[in-house]
Symmetry: C2
Subunit: 216 residues, 2 copies
């Protein structure tokens, strides 16, 4: 059965792998599953046809036969559960890898994503500078804990897993902030993720899509 | 094997079921698993013994034999996967229930939790009212989508699932804000969750723990 995902017709990040379809593309590349992409304008994302797939009118979605899913975390988990390569076979190791998936999205991502939003939407607000400092302090608290736990290991718990995949996509959003560089082991961890062949294929595919949309 | 979770010795919410151990207690009650609770002071949460269990120094954690997990979402998922009652047996329905787990924590919770934080930490700021309006607008966008999708159904996708359990705990944080009441079907949905016997048992247990700590 063909897998079809949705992505931005013109990603706000300029195709630099920050849109959340990147996680799904990367997971599909890791497990060797081909996929089609349906590109959506911002207008189409809020229309009934897409809202039937995604109640919050966002991307990505995932369709395969009569199954339709949304939420990048849930889609990556679905791929990891159906195909070998993203979750360990041992039951306890698998539960720990899933814990890192939730930790990436629920504990580490929120202040990092809030910082991005704030930089885009709140730059002219009276609270901007103060809020940025608060957010960066929250981010550092999370990175302190993450850096201590990672230590000098390659990945968060044994072999590369869907937990690492999500964590790397979350941390990548700090590129250019100077914050990630304060944690050499986390910088190396992100570079290790970005160096995986499956990551490169996914990144190149979404950059090519953006470039085609912008020049077409 | 005994299940042991951790919780606040003195929950900042006064034992009203907003601390994240509530989700885990509720899930354990739904599947009929007994559990022990280890209570932690704010100081103990940041000490090495707890950081070994939870790299970000938070609650809840989950210990069972040689398995140790953190992140309320991951713990609820682990319970749902091991015991009947929180995830449907049909593969596609199961994947959709898991999607609602991620949707609750990654899409609906962030602006709701930000509002709580803002009300605690930013109340004296000159821009507080303005920021609150921005956050409440984000919350309403999420609730619009959720309310449309739920319609007049009892639960988000067929029978009650771990997705509903997490979504109800996320929405409960809006009690007293007036926002939930703008969406009668969501108010009824939250009341339906709070009316489940397993919810009541979990709520009563954590309220009793708070009361004992405060009067002991």
């Amino acid at each position: 059965m063909t897998i079809t995902i949705t992505a931005f017709e013109r990603s706000p990040d300029g195709g630099r792998g920050l849109a959340r379809d990147m996680r799904v593309r990367w997971a599909l590349e890791e497990v060797g599953q081909p996929y089609d992409v349906r590109f959506l304008s911002f207008k189409a994302m809020k229309e009934p046809a897409h809202l039937a797939l995604h109640p919050f009118g966002q991307i990505p979605t995932y369709e395969e036969g009569d199954l339709a899913l949304f939420e990048s975390g849930a889609i990556v988990f679905h791929i990891a559960e159906r195909h070998a390569g993203l979750l360990p076979a041992d039951a306890n190791a698998r539960a720990r890898a899933i814990t890192w998936m939730f930790a990436a999205l629920d504990t580490v991502e929120p202040p990092i994503f809030e910082r991005t939003l704030s930089k885009i939407l709140e730059r002219d607000e009276p609270w901007y500078e103060q809020r940025l400092r608060v957010l960066e302090s929250s981010i550092r608290k999370r990175l302190d804990g993450l850096s201590s736990r990672l230590g000098d290991a390659d990945w968060l718990d044994g072999a590369f897993s869907a937990g690492d995949l999500l964590m790397v996509t979350v941390l990548r959003r700090l590129h250019g902030s100077g914050i990630l560089e304060e944690y050499p082991n986390l910088s190396a961890y992100v570079a290790r993720g970005e160096g995986r062949p499956a990551y490169r294929r996914a990144f190149d595919a979404q950059l090519a899509a953006f470039t085609a949309a912008s020049t077409g």
